[in-house]
């Protein structure tokens, strides 16, 4: 476990202790969008990860803390991003399913490595390294 993960874990533990709800932990590591949005409404300063041909086009992304990443689906097959338990909080987290030309925004608040996958297509995998 690296320092960043340790820091994040402590923050998560503190949040749980204060809030008494493990679901709140997700908000510490990431700030997810409430739902999908049209790709045209994605923040202009966001880092874009396109999805096409059953792949995340930039599966290994490195960003600075506080960066907003937007995933944009460019094909008719619906996709999303999902984090397993323990990645962005104690609970698993599933982003909204994206149809063609829809986007989903996540802001990464803390340093760490965040592996994700597509819920119905677990062979689609990517990660965001925040440092």
């Amino acid at each position: 476990m690296n320092l960043a993960l340790t820091t994040r874990s402590l923050a998560v533990a503190l949040t749980i202790a204060l809030a008494g709800a493990s679901g709140a932990a997700a908000a510490d590591a990431i700030t997810p969008g409430e739902t999908q949005i049209p790709a045209s409404e994605a923040p202009a300063d966001a880092v874009v990860v396109n999805i096409a041909k059953m792949k995340y086009e930039t599966p290994d992304l490195k960003v600075a803390p506080g960066t907003t990443v937007v995933w944009v689906n460019q094909e008719a097959m619906p996709h999303n991003i999902a984090f397993q338990k323990g990645v962005v909080g104690d609970d698993a987290f599933e982003g909204a399913m994206l149809k063609k030309d829809e986007a989903y925004v996540v802001t990464f608040n803390e340093a760490g490595t965040y592996a994700y996958h597509c819920t119905p297509h677990p062979f689609m995998r990517g990660k965001v390294t925040v440092e």
């Binding site: 999902a82 397993q84 996958h117 819920t119 677990p122 995998r125």
Partner: protein, 430 residues
């Protein structure tokens, strides 16, 4: 709970039948009067049939006659819980997923006689796993606290093959089962029957290891993007991967060792979900939607691919013949024969029932093409020297039992749940 309805000829069982269904028993007993006169408890009707003296008496008639005779002789009814006969190569298990119902049933049938000899209950889309040597049978199952909602529990259940009592109930943590229409090789027992391997689809491909000897869940193994489980040895199994290769997974060490074979089929060659695999022979038989069949022999050393064969002739393929159904493929280990359900169909009607069956030898030469006379979804064969061909109709809820050599229908078993789909057997006849 396990239900039993086992056939043990004799006065005790007959009297039990009479006491509980006396009107039926009497009514049926008076029908075949000649049968009553000829039959004695010392010479059960089954035996008589085998000797050719009685060929038309039904099982119900025989039981009714026995019950009537026992009553006439003054024998008392002593109801007991029966055991099933010892398993043999002709015992066949019919799993009924019941069109995705929350609870399901498995029927245990004596293929030689066509009698249901017992049943087991299951939860949601359970996966049946009979040990090859007949020493037990198991299932991986799922239940919910409030029938189809609430807390989910995945578990492995092991059954005594004669009493049908559960001998182990092993919970799987974090509900890891892949819930899907049952594919025969998505879960498997290892050849030594000491471990059970089950597949997890989400959130990431993994294979769960259950220690049957220690009666406990062991661990999850991360695997590549691959599906199905074909054990070659207690520590080595194979999977079929999205990239068109097989993955060999060696779990003997602390970390699994993954080795991929060459890509053995094109992206447009769609392998069906129901390959046949003989664990004792290590032979994998895997058809495509067109009836091209890939074969491989799986060992600890590696996968040796054989030349693909074509189940259908060029003329048949031009005339719209394609495989179709659910469990469409069967393999008889001793004769090295492959069986495949086929019919004329649209390209994308691959899950509809078939009315025909082709039989191929080890060189891929056609031996026979049988017209089955029914809409058949699944097939399998017994692994004895004179194999039975099991042909299951989900629509009829009936198992038709044929002579695998001639295709002649010998007998059938009906009322097998709501949508029976999976046929499994013991490969215990050396």
């Amino acid at each position: 709970m396990t239900l039993r309805r086992c056939l043990i000829p004799g006065p005790v069982r007959s009297l039990g039948l009479f006491a509980t269904t006396s009107l039926i028993a009497l009514g049926m007993a008076f029908g075949p009067a000649s049968a009553q006169e000829q039959q004695t408890p010392e010479q059960p009707a089954q035996e008589q049939q085998a000797q050719g003296e009685q060929t038309t008496q039904t099982e119900g008639e025989r039981e009714a006659a026995e019950a009537a005779q026992a009553l006439a002789s003054g024998e008392a009814d002593e109801p007991v819980v029966l055991n099933a006969p010892k398993p043999d190569a002709r015992r066949v298990y019919v799993q009924d997923p019941a069109h995705f119902a929350a609870v399901t049933q498995q029927f245990v049938i004596d293929g030689s006689t066509g009698e249901v000899i017992g049943m087991t209950d299951g939860g949601f889309l359970p996966h049946p796993l009979p040990a090859a040597d007949g020493s037990f049978f198991a299932q991986v199952s799922t239940v919910f606290k409030r029938i189809a909602r609430g807390e989910r529990t995945d578990y492995v259940e092991v059954f005594d093959s004669e009493t049908f009592e559960p001998t182990a109930d092993i919970e799987l943590p974090d509900a890891p089962r892949f819930l899907l229409g049952t594919y025969e090789w998505m879960n498997a027992l290892t050849p030594d029957n000491k471990q059970l391997l089950f597949y997890q689809f989400s959130p990431a491909p993994a294979v769960g290891v259950v220690d049957l000897e220690g009666k406990k869940f062991d661990r999850m193994i991360d695997v590549p993007d691959c599906y199905h489980i074909f054990p070659a040895t207690p520590d080595v199994f194979y999977m079929n991967c999205r990239d068109g290769s097989l993955a060999q997974i060696d779990i003997s060490g602390e970390e699994p060792k993954v080795t991929n074979t060459e890509v053995f089929h094109g992206e447009e060659e769609l392998l069906i979900n129901h390959p046949a695999y003989s664990m004792r022979a290590g032979r994998l038989v895997w058809p495509t939607y067109t009836g091209k069949i890939f074969r491989a022999d799986l060992t600890a050393e590696g996968a040796k691919f054989l030349d693909p064969i074509e189940a259908l002739t060029e003329a048949e393929r031009a005339d719209g013949w394609r495989p179709g159904g659910w469990q469409q493929t069967a393999y008889h280990r001793k004769s090295d024969r492959t069986f495949l359900l086929v019919d004329q169909r649209d390209e994308w009607r691959h899950k509809a029932a078939s009315r025909f069956l082709v039989v191929m030898d080890g060189n891929g030469q056609r031996i026979a093409k049988f017209e089955l006379g029914h809409e058949i979804d699944s097939i399998n064969v017994s692994q004895d020297d004179e194999p039975l061909l099991y042909a299951l109709s989900a629509g009829d809820q009936t198992l038709y039992i044929l002579d695998a050599e001639t295709g002649e229908e010998l007998r059938s078993v009906d009322q097998l749940g709501r949508g029976p789909q999976i046929i499994t057997t013991h490969d215990m006849d050396s």
